[in-house]
Symmetry: C2
Subunit: 266 residues, 2 copies
């Protein structure tokens, strides 16, 4: 892992790192309290589709975890996203397609997006890659003195759940996860996704938007239902895919404190 640069602002140190996984560079950011040393509770944050490791909601959640709780936070660019975009024209098209779907007529709320089977397969493959990648990122991130042995939580909705749910199911270091804005919908790879959901055992907070333009209500309820964890809570709010109310950040923080504990004051 290479440290690219580091800045500190209002008590939060933000360190750009490059993590090498299977000969591929995964650009990441680690946030922690200025001058701290670990181990400390750390939340791994998975961004959404067409986004990157430093979009506003990831950045402000990471800063909130550091400032409010004394936690650390980690975000990386998912495969094909952020600094890992290989074809800017394709990335731009994906962004425009998503915008169009979010702006579209919601009356039908189609579960099956209008995409070619080839595009869908590529998405599933990228999610699978991102999922496997997180465990290797975590191996290296835990060597940082500011983070150490954690404990670790995960936060990721929409594509952050497509990538993160199988990761959380497979990696026993993750003790609690906020997931959501996703469903069981008949996409390619659904059986494997449903199996991963069934195999989850850690507490899950599952976020859902009642008027999500990208999926049906039933699809979201089915995914919540499929989660095997004994402790799971679903929060449903009115509004579309990108409309989760800001007050839910308090829920995330309460949830992590309950399961990862407070940061040591050392």
């Amino acid at each position: 892992m290479d440290i690219i640069d580091e800045v500190t602002e209002k008590g939060v140190t933000e360190r750009r790192v490059d993590v090498t996984v299977d000969d591929e560079v995964v650009p990441g950011i680690v946030w922690f309290p200025d001058g701290s040393s670990g181990p400390r509770p750390t939340v791994l944050i998975g961004h959404g589709g067409t986004q990157h490791k430093r979009v506003p909601n990831v950045l402000s959640m990471a800063r909130g975890l550091v400032r409010h709780l004394g936690y650390a936070a980690v975000a990386v660019d998912a495969p094909g996203h952020g600094d890992r975009v290989t074809d800017p024209a394709v990335a731009e098209l994906a962004r425009k397609n998503l915008e169009a779907r979010l702006a579209g007529d919601t009356s039908g709320r189609l579960a099956q997006p209008d995409r070619s089977s080839e595009q869908m397969k590529a998405m599933v493959e990228r999610s699978r890659q991102g999922s496997a990648e997180w465990s290797k990122v975590l191996d290296q991130i835990s060597e940082l003195p500011e983070i150490g042995s954690g404990p670790f939580g995960y936060w990721g909705v929409s594509m952050g759940t497509s990538v993160g749910l199988p990761f959380v199911a497979a990696d026993k270091r993750i003790a609690a996860a906020v997931l959501g804005l996703n469903g069981l919908s008949g996409r390619p790879g659904q059986e494997r996704f449903a199996e991963a959901a069934h195999s989850l055992t850690v507490p899950v907070l599952f976020m859902f938007q009642w008027d999500d333009e990208l999926m049906t209500r039933q699809s979201g309820l089915d995914l919540f239902d499929a989660i095997g964890s004994a402790e799971k809570t679903m929060h449903i709010n009115p509004g579309g895919h990108v409309g989760t109310p800001l007050h839910e950040r308090t829920s995330y923080e309460d949830f992590y404190v309950r399961h990862l504990g407070p940061a040591s004051t050392a």
Copy 2:
């Protein structure tokens, strides 16, 4: 309003009061920080069916609101409940019936309980009475110097929602409400109940149990859907009617602080 007695324990003063409403005595309890004077944010708590104003969950929530937030809390015996039971044998039968339904086979999750139409009508009438009563109780409670002009919130699930939802819809002094464990089910008086839900405008936190023995999932989702408030959130947890996880108390307190504000430090 008559003060019956008053005790203070661990900083919480608990005052038993008798409120007279339409020539009927409504026994109540007011909790507030020892030695405080108002106005202060106050939560009115409606207990569940076959319960009373001082069942353990009401008592510990009231004490938590006082100790954690410096709020006041109020609970009263609903019509036909607690000190207002007129026929102990009937009350005991109702309690046993409820226990049997909670212990029963949940595979069918019947929306229509096995009760005579006469019993159902009496329940609806008692709920209507309890609903109207709360406004008159609030008139008198706000004359206490420890409470004054509030602001006011409501908390009540199950029968506490049957009674409280129409009250919150009608009384503009209530600024936020926690409701739940209830549904739109085809019972007598459902149209009036649905209309009251539609007319709600204040923020609502709606609690629901995913394996509730007393109602279907769809019935609960339909009631959440019917609530007219722009800000509403549904929390779904696994388990039966009486299994809401204790950690949700943090959600209630966060919710009230967000909408009623902090207690004055005066």
